[in-house]
Amino acid sequence: MLQTAKRAGDSASHKAVPHERYLEAFRWMLQTRIFEDKLASLYRGGMITGGVYIGRGQEAVSTACGLFLQKGDVLAPLIRDQAARATFGEPLLNVTRTYLGSRQGSMRGRDGNIHRGYPEAGQLAMISHLGAMIPVVVGKLLAKRMKGEEGFVGLTTIGEGGMQTGATHEGMNIAAVEKVPFVLVASNNHFAYSTPNDREFACAHLVDRARGYGYEGHQIDGTDLAACLEVIGGAVERARAGGPPQLVVAQLLRLAGHGEHDDASYVPPEMKKERWAQDCVALTEQLALKNNWLDAEALKQWRTEISAEVDKAVETAQREAAPVGSEEDWCAMSTRELVDVVGE
């Protein structure tokens, strides 16, 4: 009944993606790269409280995760999804506000950085516990169906590490039982923090999990933007059209530390020579230039524009006031009369 796992030929399918789409995606990737470089340098400059976690090397996958979503869809991004968040409508200013501790960020100083959500654009605020957002997306989709909405889809990302949590298992399974239009995009960046694949799982290919849940499974080279767009876009389309849940597993390498505090010295040098260990932003840029979809001048122009945008977002947030303890109402509940007056 349900289709079994299939493997996309790694990058055999460029022709399927029109080059306008490719360029559109590339611009988001570039924005993400420039922006995250800025965040990393702010972190090194001691301007950020808490950690900075970036998606360097994962921009192609992440962009594809955001690009095919529409108003009414649900995105539950994780720590490496700046590209998906931006592509699906979170303004850079919300990010800088959160990272720089402005009270005007969507989390109001209560939660920070990668935990931010952006409900206005259908983006959930993650809790740290990996896998926990999957059933939440399922619940949103179930509710939408109960309310009679149509044509929506929900997408969650996960790392290969997060795929080993009980929450991920239960969430993936319940999505299939509820037959909701759900896409899970897993990036196997070969490490969970410092832990290599062989201490994370023992199957040959994580995409082999798909069949056991009744998902359609797809495997891609996460450094190949065209493959990402085609396969992730296709998965979103299949789910939206009423197909079974979709699992896309991308092979790639995290080209940064787990967070900016981490030098990632545990990554073996040989691994950096793998094809999937390349820099997707550089590869995409090269291909775009080579094919004359973009000329060097236009690219330079993009970089200038993006840098200006980024600088503006940073400067704006930096000028804004921080939250103030004395103005907090310290109330975790929306029903004020039910707040417990806890004996101190």
Partner: protein, 322 residues
Amino acid sequence: MSITYLEAIREAQAHLLREDERVFIYGQDVSGKFGGAFKATKGLAAEFPGRVLNTPISEDAMVGTAIGAAMEGMRPIVEMQFADFSSVALNQILNNAGTQYWRTNIPCPITVRLPSGGTKGSGPFHSQSMEAIYSHYPGLVVVAPATVEDAYTMLIDAVAIDDPVIYCEHKYLYYHLKADALPKDRLPIGKARIVRPGRDLSIVTYSAMVHEALAVAKQFSADGIEIEVVDLRSVKPLDTDTVLASVARTGRLLCVGESFPWGGATAEIVARVATEGFHLLDAAPARINAKDTPIPYHPNLWSEHRPNAKSIAAKARQVLAE
């Protein structure tokens, strides 16, 4: 007509499904002709098609799904088969439901029904009372109805509340407790009730222990000692005012809980009275809880593990003697 505590829970859910299209029930075996391990949803699936849904054995995902649905405007009621199994959903309850509104400003109105408390022969994993764990963390309302009437109105109120509510229903009361009819009035969640007035000692308790306390009060009354029994109804928020007012009348406090002894509701009540009503106390306050071991399976052991009328009476005598 006569209605049990369990039937009141069923009726409340029928009422909610009828009156509010945002409500649905989500849990193991709640659907079909079966209607739940305890039959608390009996007949509801047929009456409300598509709104009483069986789930896989996946408590974490059940609550996670309910959270998502609640954020999207629904009013899910999650039935745990036994409170004890909510241990594997605890992360979603505490860290996701409990923090959601505070972090994002989006209300998360889920109700989690926990069939709680000990019954004969149920053993360590089908007898637990988990209110202390859920009350300790911020963001949740935790209720524990002790009467048929409260079982009914508090479940309806729980679902109406915009915040996550942990509804601890006591399995021992399911069949043991009967009322003549469904209640017309209600006391809102957050308010305690003086279920028996007295002047000599306040016993503050909740859930099944209310009835043990009442038995003790009745027994002492024969000797002219009048015990006031306060039914907390909700342990979070805890109605400190009513408790303090009672202690102001009696000067003596005994807190009774069926849960484990370290921390928990009895510690919280004693601590509140000691800190906020110290001068009201004419004698040292006291408390009595279950013993600090898992809950035994064998009835001979179980009946000594939990507080009961005998052990409560003994403790009450001590407090009165001081």
